[in-house]
């Protein structure tokens, strides 16, 4: 299996003046990007061999170049979202304790606010040394992705270089990426969905279009039309923005050949809007936790067959080549927790052996994990695998054990397209995202046909749009905080 650095350098050599990264302000060619990669790699090696690097940059060509540069220098990196609250950025910095920070002048201010000098900073706005001629030996790790931990302290997922290579190799086979592809780069670099864009596009000669501007993020359909994008990748919630902005039309979406989704349940109405606007489009629904390197299932969908893969949500597909998903600990063989086996399983959590041993399976505490217990529940129906919810969203109400996702799924079956539920002050609350008015009495009686009485929420809150977190997932925590009474 080829290494991502070798793939990129080969492509860059072949394509030369072909655009690698494009924005409204201009283009960076493969030759130029390759030079940046080699120069940043040289600057890193001046500091340290196999460096541990924090990338403190927004979505831009230099951020992507730094990722390849770190790997070229035999090191590994952690990306940080420069738009995240200061406390979050600082928590990642403190926990990762990097040898080097790659950033801009703004990063010097950030480091100063954290009580650090700029000695560890490489400012990509300054002169860089002569390009490194060839890659150093690859390290074991590729990157450490910090996700939100249940304790509030970020948890670093250590993704191995071989896992990344496996994923990128699959992506190229599954997506048939060509030099003619114009590929969106919507997720922030601190969200691992961006790994698909960055390595998928730049190791195959496509042109990447970072959507960093406020307007493009709010009106992504505009960016698709303006740049005539051919590949779109995001969480499904972004489709809701496109639909509500009335941009799910042929005028806005006709350039797309492939739309790929991951990170939360894809909904049947997302697919309907996409296929109504672009009947020839291919859609990939994928599933996977950060701990299995972005995604590890695939369900290819088209306008002729998608309805057969739709229940309350869209099916998540089967394990990709080389990976295996097992349903374990459930009521029967078709129900249980998803446990993931294969080369994309991460190397554990950064400096947290206790959490690693709790979630990963390995032959000994010293050996690399071979499987990951996701905590996600799924069931197989009519040959299709459907995500049910989180194991840890199980609550107890009046002595009854209840999966909150069971309530959410019942709400969806009763006609609420997006819903979540939570126990607040001992009571079950439902939060409904509805475009128009709803008859709550009717909804409650419908729910009683779906759920036992204790599982029917006693409190309903209606939203035109449920709040989302930085990754555009429904922000249940903020809802709980808003409605909790001390």
């Amino acid at each position: 299996m080829k290494d991502v650095v070798d793939l990129f350098l080969t492509v860059a050599c072949e394509l030369g003046e072909h655009p690698a990264v494009a924005t409204d302000d201009g283009r960076v060619t493969y030759t130029e990007l390759s030079l940046r990669v080699r120069s940043i790699a040289a600057a890193l090696l001046e500091r340290r061999d196999a460096p541990r690097v924090l990338i403190h940059l927004p979505q831009c060509a230099d951020a992507y170049a730094t990722m390849f540069a770190v790997l070229m220098a035999g090191g590994y990196y952690a990306p940080v979202n420069t738009d995240a609250p200061f406390a979050r950025q600082r928590a990642v910095l403190d926990k990762f304790n990097p040898d080097v920070v790659v950033g801009t002048a703004a990063s010097a201010e950030f480091l100063s606010a954290c009580g650090l000098t700029s000695d560890i900073l490489i400012d990509v706005g300054q002169d860089l040394p002569a390009p490194l001629p060839k890659p150093m030996l690859p390290g074991t790790l590729a990157y450490v992705l910090f996700t939100s931990g249940s304790t509030g302290i970020p948890k670093g997922v250590m993704v191995g270089r071989s896992g990344l290579n496996h994923y990128v190799s699959w992506c190229h086979r599954a997506m048939n990426v060509t030099h003619q592809d114009r590929w969106s780069q919507h997720p922030n670099i601190a969200f691992d969905l961006s790994v698909l864009d960055i390595f998928g596009a730049l190791c195959a000669g496509a042109c990447l279009y970072p959507l960093g501007g406020a307007k493009d993020r709010l009106f992504p359909g505009d960016a698709i039309r303006r740049h005539q994008l051919t590949i779109w990748n995001s969480v499904p919630s972004v489709m809701t923005l496109i639909i509500r902005a009335q941009h799910a039309t042929p005028e806005f979406l006709r350039s797309l050949r492939l739309a790929t989704f991951c990170g939360e349940p894809l909904l049947p109405e997302h697919l309907k809007a996409l296929f109504d606007a672009a009947p020839d489009l291919s859609v990939h629904n994928t599933y996977g936790p950060t701990e299995a390197t972005v995604s590890c299932t695939l369900l290819p969908l088209n306008s002729n067959m998608y309805q057969s893969a739709c229940r309350a949500t869209v099916a998540i597909g089967e394990a990709i080549e080389g990976m295996e998903l097992r349903l374990e600990g459930g009521d029967n063989a078709n129900h249980g927790e998803i446990v993931i086996y294969g080369p994309q399983v991460a190397r554990g959590y950064w400096r947290d052996s206790e959490a690693t041993q709790a979630a990963f399976l390995s032959h000994s505490p010293q050996s690399a994990p071979y499987a990951y217990r996701t905590g996600d529940l799924a069931e197989r129906v009519d040959g299709q695998l459907y995500f049910l919810g989180r194991r840890d969203t199980q609550v107890k109400l009046m002595g009854h054990r209840l999966e909150l996702e069971e309530v959410n799924a019942a709400l969806r079956r009763c006609g609420v397209p997006q819903a979540c539920s939570a126990v607040i002050n001992g009571k079950l609350h439902a939060f409904l995202e509805l475009p128009g008015p709803v008859n709550l009495d009717r909804l409650k009686s419908d729910l009683l046909l779906e759920l036992e009485a204790f599982a029917v929420p006693g409190h309903f809150h209606l939203f035109d749009r449920l709040p989302r977190n930085m990754n555009d997932k429904i922000d249940v925590r903020s809802l709980i905080e808003a409605f909790h009474t001390p």
Binding site: F219, P467, R468, S478
Partner: protein
Amino acid sequence: MPLPTPLELIAAALECSQDSLNEHSGLARHPQWDSLGHLRIMMALEDAYGISITDASIREFETFSAILAAYALAQKSAG
């Protein structure tokens, strides 16, 4: 027809009660003022006040107080 006040405009865009809004309300500081809520506010600002939707205006009008200030300025120049 008189222009809607910022309170009326934002409450209509977010489909929330006017009572739930105050000078501290803003993007991510009100349960319904998230990215989609902000999209609707920007579309309403364009329709009602003629504010162009740009990267700068999307960032500028992330708070109730910023929209209030723009409204006051528009009223003053109109008067």
